[in-house]
């Protein structure tokens, strides 16, 4: 075979250069360790992963892959949001009719809408469970690596959970049905209950003093540009930080718990990847975290699992969306509040606490809208934000499920999670007309819809 030559006639070998291999798709199925390492560096989709991955941190039962699942759902949301962008009309006169068209007139429209809606619901759940997992395993704690800032990644994660909730909120407003209209009413009145600045905040959110076209276009632009853009940016930063922090906290715990022996450089290791030197350089130190028995090539071990999780999520959700149709309430009607008027499940605990937190001290009353809608959620978010700096548990407590040294804080955290879940269940199953309590098996009294 003739070797390619440059114009000056100098012979150049292509097959031996790093990252260049003659077979097509060689980076998907590398034949050697060298090709496996090159696959990460020279492949656009893979270059943000490390060449080698700590094997225990890929355990199914350590992370449950909830972060990857959330990312897969975000991908699905972007993909299914694409066609919806072409079909939905953000106008108070036509929004409801355009959703009706998507649901009943557009080919595969109801499936696309269902994929979008189910993915949104599951993403709220997946992101929340991801946060619970990270807290319970103390994975926001720094380990033995240099330059680790896991607490910052936790902060970004909290921000991403809030963005996910805001995206869901702005998303279910868009059909401009009864759910949407009264959710905007209640949501913006919660903002309005903040002392001094409240009414101004409400006016900014609504784009006026009444719920009308300026309101819909604001929430629409937030939903399709501002919030997804912010979430996408934070997602990329989140992933980059995982890399900078040396992978999951599990990797640190593995290195900490095992004997840390300096091993001799391994022959097959490609130090070119580290940017240190070409070939195998004897001066490079390796600790047990990079020892061959604990790490595996990212291609295919990491990429295979990512493929299983991402493709599995997409497959299950696509099927699921065939069978679960998306509801649409009656068109927005400023004249009639539905009875009961329930928020989506992930906000029902908030609806429950704004109901229960109006405080009366003598003749002085503080609206539950402010305490339950602003102060308590604000307090929860603040606690989540500062917790990595409060948590003084030892290093060995990171990357491990339910360590003894974190028992107290894990219990307190689970108690708060439990309260949120109980309130959500009460709101879902036990609240009926006029927000009265009924048992799930109890029939609701018949109440005329109009006076």
């Amino acid at each position: 075979m003739a070797k390619p030559t440059t114009s000056s006639g100098v012979q150049r070998s292509t097959a031996t250069a790093p990252g260049v291999h003659p077979r097509p798709f060689w980076s998907v199925r590398p034949q050697t360790d060298r090709q496996s390492g090159d696959a990460i560096v020279s492949n656009f989709l893979l270059h943000w992963f490390p060449a080698k991955t700590c094997k225990p941190s890929m355990n199914w039962t350590y992370s449950f892959w909830l972060g990857t699942m959330s990312a897969a759902l975000l991908l699905l949301l972007v993909l299914s949001g694409g066609p919806l962008l072409f079909l939905y009309v953000p106008s108070v006169e036509r929004a409801y009719a355009s959703i009706k068209d998507i649901e009943f007139a557009v080919t595969f429209g109801s499936w696309i809408r269902s994929v979008h809606r189910m993915a949104a619901h599951l993403m709220v759940a997946a992101v929340f469970l991801h946060l619970v997992r990270v807290f319970l395993t103390g994975a926001y704690k720094n380990g033995i690596g240099q330059g680790q800032r896991r607490e910052w990644n936790w902060l970004i994660g909290v921000a991403m959970l809030l963005l996910t909730l805001l995206l869901s909120f702005t998303g279910y407003l868009l059909p401009w049905d009864q759910l949407a209209y009264w959710a905007v009413t209640v949501g913006t009145n919660i903002a309005s209950s903040i002392p001094v600045i409240g009414p101004t905040v409400r006016e900014l959110l609504l784009g006026g003093r009444a719920i009308d076209q300026p309101t819909l276009i604001r929430f629409y632009v937030l939903h399709v540009i501002v919030l997804p853009g912010a979430l996408g940016g934070l997602f990329l930063y989140h992933m980059w930080r995982v890399r900078k922090d040396g992978g999951l906290a599990k990797a640190d715990s593995v290195a900490l718990l095992g004997d840390r022996i300096e091993t001799a450089p391994v022959k097959t290791k490609t130090y070119t990847l580290l940017g240190v030197a070409r070939g195998t350089a004897p001066t490079v130190r390796a600790s047990t975290i990079e020892a061959p028995d604990l790490t595996v090539n990212s291609v295919p071990d990491l990429t295979r699992r990512i493929a299983i999780v991402v493709l599995g999520t997409i497959a299950l959700l696509s099927l699921f969306a065939v069978y679960v149709r998306s509801p649409l309430e009656e068109a927005a009607n400023a004249l009639v509040t539905p009875n009961p008027a329930k928020a989506p499940w992930y906000f029902l605990w908030l609806q429950e606490i704004v109901t229960d937190t109006t405080v009366r001290i003598g003749s002085f009353t503080i609206n539950g809208a402010f305490i339950g809608g602003v102060v308590l959620p604000g307090l929860l978010v603040t606690l989540l934000t500062v917790w990595p700096w409060i948590d003084k548990s030892p290093l060995a407590a990171a990357g491990v499920w339910f360590p003894r040294t974190r028992r107290a804080q894990n219990t307190a955290f689970l108690a708060i999670v439990g309260i949120v879940i109980v309130f959500t269940l009460i709101g879902t199953f036990c609240r009926g007309p006029y927000w009265n309590l009924y048992w799930p098996w109890q029939a609701w009294p018949e109440i005329p819809t109009r006076l």
């Binding site: 509040t337 008027a341 809208a369 006029y434």
Partner: protein
């Protein structure tokens, strides 16, 4: 040459950076300011509700104004249906038998009570909050007769005390 704390290169760098930051801050705030509404096309607050004869004795609910208008013989009063908790529309429920209540020296016949579907606030027939998260009573609004055609007129920007009555 003498030593300067800030040489020319430093000085120009600082002026340039400062000007850049000032420009970005100004342009960003100008862009954001455009989102603060200068005009709000609100519905008028003074609304004609219809001829007096159209109001039966007892309660009439006007969904557009979110208003309960009560008539007791020749006297009228109007109570807002907007829940003081988070702004949903409260619904009226007729009492089995009317009750009498003394408010500000004037007696009031209570024929209904009000409940909010969103968070379960309950109000008495005079709008006072009884239970649930509502922090204050429902608003009472000023009623008058139009000078031109004698229709009932409500002023939704004018809250009144609970002893307000319009006598026709």
């Amino acid at each position: 040459m003498t030593e300067h704390a800030v040489d020319r290169r430093d000085f120009i760098f600082r002026v340039g950076t400062g000007a850049g930051i000032a420009a970005i801050v100004y342009q960003a705030s100008a862009s954001l300011r455009s989102l603060v509404p200068n005009v709000s096309y609100d519905a008028p607050t003074t609304v004609k509700l219809g001829p007096v004869a159209e109001f039966p004795d007892g309660l009439k609910f006007l969904p557009d104004e979110r208003l309960f208008v009560f008539r007791e013989g020749n006297t009228f009063h109007a109570i807002s249906a907007v829940c003081t908790h988070l702004g949903c529309t409260a619904r009226a429920e007729a009492l089995p038998s009317p009750e009498a209540k003394e408010i500000g020296g004037k007696s009031l016949r209570l024929t209904h009570r009000f409940q909010c579907p969103c968070h379960g606030s309950k109000y008495n027939g005079d709008g006072s909050n009884v239970s649930g998260p509502a922090p204050k009573p429902l608003a009472w609004y000023h009623l008058s007769l139009a000078s031109d055609d004698g229709q009932l007129v409500v002023d939704l920007a004018h809250e009144v005390e609970h002893d307000f009555r319009l006598t026709v």
